[in-house]
Symmetry: C2
Subunit: 380 residues, 2 copies
């Protein structure tokens, strides 16, 4: 058997009736089978889940964040402690986001300039930071993630056309500079397609990325910023299914609600990340095949059923009842967040495993239709 | 092989130079090898640790609490959901404390009367609760723990002699009433020796318990209420080593600091419980063979060593560095509490496993002396 070249992406099956595909992405820390959901460990820790728990859930790759780790504890310290893998004792692949989204979400404290971004680290010590694409690559390379993302500018929705155009231009220039600054061979740099809900701008962004370098994969940023799901799919569907290169993974950034994942896979998206499963867990909410369950609700007080009869996660297999989880949530026991995080992360990991199996069986259209007709879909 | 009778206690080894002993306590959910530390899950959950984690750490028996579970979610609901074992999905032994300590710690809201206790459930909805020994046994039996404790009155230190005497008398009368009210055969009822720091009162309490029923084990309550450790040992040492019945387990309630455990085992104590390992974990502190480590401290920022080079816990074996744990503690990541709780609980479980091995080897005196001379001891 020959060893596949680093960061190649093998499409191993295509669904006959949708644009869904099953793939394998090769990294220095192992293969990632797609479609895949990536749990988020912003500060080198997935909230509520230890690395062994993530392994048990079957997580193949997790996210961390360049901006946050450069602030605390600093990328040079992480590098000395074995990079993000050694630091958090996680041997499987890691993807680091660039901080472009943080720039968006903290936008009142950011100033975008052609050469980069200036901002106050208000969620840390408030110090002023000057950030450039080159600095961004320096951090990502010190962290040693398997995949890093270019620095980009994400804008909200709705947004003025001029602002959107400028964000595409800025992101394109920054993509070029990231491409030139990035030298680490055991790390893949993904470009990010921007352009809001405007397909023509999305295509302009993509064309620019393809002209500036041979990126081994593409992020699709700037969705899930306030628009309705159907608005997103108006441009996402043609972008992913007709225009993005076949042999590269497509990563829809920051999207984690199950129904959107199922629909996006049908458009040919391969990778997803979101804080949703762990964040909703901390508010006492569980995903399930009956839709979302808010365990705080009094109707669960005496409910002796597991969270989801059809779920194979460690929490459902152990048989903790909804009544027990209701008790933990109401009593503000830390165990509530730990158990619900396990369940919710498993739910999305397993959804993507089943999506992959459906693609391999050539039955993704049916898988999607079944999902959209199910109770699980109703809440999302 | 014959099956041992329920709740018998076999002393399998006695140390030649101390009063330490190694035993096996037989319960309906399996054997407990002593000396043993019991992690505390007051509300049917050990803070920061799931039941599978507790199994991995080697916890043999855990605590829960009659008062708290009767308040929320109510003992009848727990009973319908399979008792405390079924409710929290834990198959190994469980001991439930009576709430006597909560009466002490919430004393401004409690009124002690001969027939029982009246109090406001201020940590819940503030409702007025009338509690008697009979009601206490009713709750414990509904919960179905393997061991339940009599209702007792715990007092502080220092305390007036008259108050102390009255607490011994009250606890004695309540012991009788608990003994008469307790009928569940798969559950052991332990009497509790009170008497503060006064050996003569302790012996009076013990004599009364021995006269009122054949308790299968004894709690030693009312220590660790503000006194210096040496003051505790002045009465505890003769009580445990000379006066308590040989063939019954002796459980020193609410004591969890490692040095006190090591010294108390030398006096013939068999069982311990304390919230200390999980509570200190939540403040960012780790037990270690070098003494306590406050991971919040800046000196750990770049420390690439594990918490304890000599520790075999899942956290130290995985190799998370002190620097990583410092980062998690500083960033208030939930993972800090989860990882430090694993480590700290393992530390006490393992300390007692090693204590048992030392007794079996006839070398407990040396084990105790080594501990007292070690860095691990200095902080406690």
């Amino acid at each position: 058997m020959t060893v596949p070249e680093l960061f190649t992406f093998d499409v191993v099956a295509r669904d006959p009736r949708t644009s869904a595909r099953a793939g394998v992405f090769h990294t220095a820390h192992g293969d990632v089978e797609t479609p895949v959901f990536m749990p988020v460990g912003t500060k080198a820790a997935v909230k509520g889940l230890t690395p062994p728990m993530l392994e048990e859930l079957g997580a193949q790759i997790i996210l961390s964040n360049t901006y946050h780790l450069s602030q605390r504890p600093g990328e040079r310290l992480v590098e000395r402690l074995g990079g993000v893998h050694g630091f958090m004792r996680w041997d499987r692949p890691v993807l680091t986001d660039s901080g472009g989204f943080q720039a968006f979400s903290l936008s009142e404290h950011f100033t975008f300039r052609d050469d980069g971004v200036e901002f106050r680290a208000v969620d840390y010590d408030g110090s002023r930071v000057a950030w450039t694409p080159e600095r961004n690559m320096e951090i990502a390379q010190a962290l040693g993630s398997d995949v890093c993302m270019q620095l980009d500018q994400c804008v909200g929705y709705p947004v003025e056309r001029a602002v959107l155009e400028r964000s595409v231009e800025l992101s394109s220039r920054w993509a070029e500079r990231c491409w030139r600054a990035h030298t680490r061979e055991d790390q893949a740099l993904f470009g990010i397609v921007q352009g809001g809900m405007d397909l023509s701008l999305r295509l302009r962004s993509l064309a620019h990325l393809e002209s500036c370098g041979d990126f081994p994969g593409y992020g699709i940023g700037g969705y899930s910023v306030g628009e309705e799901h159907d608005v997103m799919f108006e441009s996402l569907a043609p972008l992913a299914s007709e225009h993005m290169p076949e042999g590269k993974p497509r990563y829809l950034m920051g999207v984690g609600n199950p129904t959107t994942l199922v629909r996006a896979v049908a458009c040919g998206v391969d990778m997803f990340d979101c804080v949703l499963p762990t964040r909703t867990a901390r508010t006492g909410t569980a995903f399930s095949s009956e839709g979302r369950l808010n365990l705080r609700n009094a109707r669960f007080r005496e409910d002796d059923r597991p969270l989801d009869e059809r779920c194979g996660c460690p929490v459902c297999r152990r048989g903790y009842s909804r009544a027990y989880l209701h008790h933990l949530v109401r009593q503000r026991e830390m165990g509530a967040a730990v158990l619900l995080s396990q369940h919710n992360v498993f739910f999305l990991l397993d959804l993507m495993r089943r999506a992959r199996a459906a693609v391999l069986a050539g039955e993704y259209a049916r898988f999607e239709a079944d999902w959209l007709a199910s109770e699980a879909c109703e809440d999302y």
